[in-house]
Amino acid sequence: MRRMEMLIVAGFLGSGKTTLVLSTIEKIIERTGKKVVIIVNDFGTVGIDGKIMEKYGLKVAELASGCICCTLGGDLLTTVQDIEENIKPDLLVIEPTGLADPEAIVRAMDHYPGKPLERIRSAVIIDAARFPAIFKALNRPLTSQVKSADLVLINKVDAVSPEVLEAVKADLRTLDADVPIIYVSALNGTNVDEAVDAMVAS
């Protein structure tokens, strides 16, 4: 029997994680036939992202008021085990806060007391429009996010010029991000199919 997989959809605050999950999740289900559950971790005391997903018809397990890669590590493991035992999904999608280091989530999962997962992959969303400012202000953590990714999605491509996009991609390549980099606009659907293919690639 195939074990549960985990996909972490990480990215800085406001990079478009929720929009991307909303625009890809139905396609992932259609394409793979997998049973999917989403865990959303929002930084605010009352999560907003989870409420939005619920309004779009998704069932969401929410971890609010902290970051799962830090203080909520235990909550994450408990929630994952509860979901695994009671819902038995094929794929667990985690949308952490925009502050999370996906690698720390992977390390937290080393302590997971349930059945070992089939695999854990992470996609990091980059905000094309704000990348220069974020890269300057938060170089180390952003570098860490990108380096731990299996896939980088440069989002909001509709908001910048081709030249800016190429500059963002070039900067990312300087981080030794030797992973697929896909231009996408989660808002208007540009390359969403390509992103879905990469997110579920075996």
Binding site: F12, L13, G14, D42, F43, G44, T45, V46, I48, K51, I52, K55, L63, A64, S65, G66, C67, C69, C70, T71, L72, G73, G74, D75, L77, T78, T97, G98, L99, A100, D101, E103, A104, R107, A108, H111, D127, R130, A133, I134, A137, L138, P141, L142, S144, L187
Partner: protein, 150 residues
């Protein structure tokens, strides 16, 4: 990415008015509010705006989620309200860098009152970080010594 200058401020605005607030008016006010918060925080010296967002859940009458990531005045909207409501419950999260939390609160609270006071409406603000509504963070054995990554 929690640095020493990162600040998070969450509040709930409960608005009660004697007559239903029209959906378009509510939508416009929320957009103006998110843009105003971003602009004023930027003016006050925020070094980076992370995410300023709000959600209004009106049950079967619809919902609105509005957010912005900069001070350009281009907050985006999700959802819609199908009819006017007398009571609004809006959750607002402000996540940014470079200002003290008290400064953010001093900027945000008056703006919320200004934008959400419809004709005759009463506005009650609640600092959600003080009400402890959320799950208490739990640490597990083996993770206590992990460095804080975010």
């Amino acid at each position: 990415m929690i640095t020493s200058d990162f600040v998070a401020y969450s509040l709930r605005a409960s608005v009660t008015s004697t007559s239903p607030a029209a959906p378009d008016l509510v939508r416009d006010r929320l957009v103006a509010l998110m843009n105003a918060i971003a602009l004023e925080c930027d003016k006050a010296g925020a070094t980076l705006i992370g995410h300023i967002k709000c959600v209004l859940d009106a049950g079967n009458k619809g919902f609105l989620a509005v957010s912005t990531t900069d001070a350009s005045g281009r907050a985006t909207v999700r959802g819609e309200m199908k009819e006017g409501v007398n009571e609004l419950n809006v959750i607002i999260n402000v996540l940014l860098y470079g200002l003290a939390r008290i400064k953010v609160q001093e900027i945000v609270d008056p703006l919320v009152r200004e934008h959400m006071t419809f004709d005759g409406a009463k506005v009650h603000l609640e600092d959600l970080d003080k009400t402890h509504e959320a799950l208490a963070p739990i640490q597990i054995r083996g993770l206590e010594d992990e460095p804080h990554h975010c």
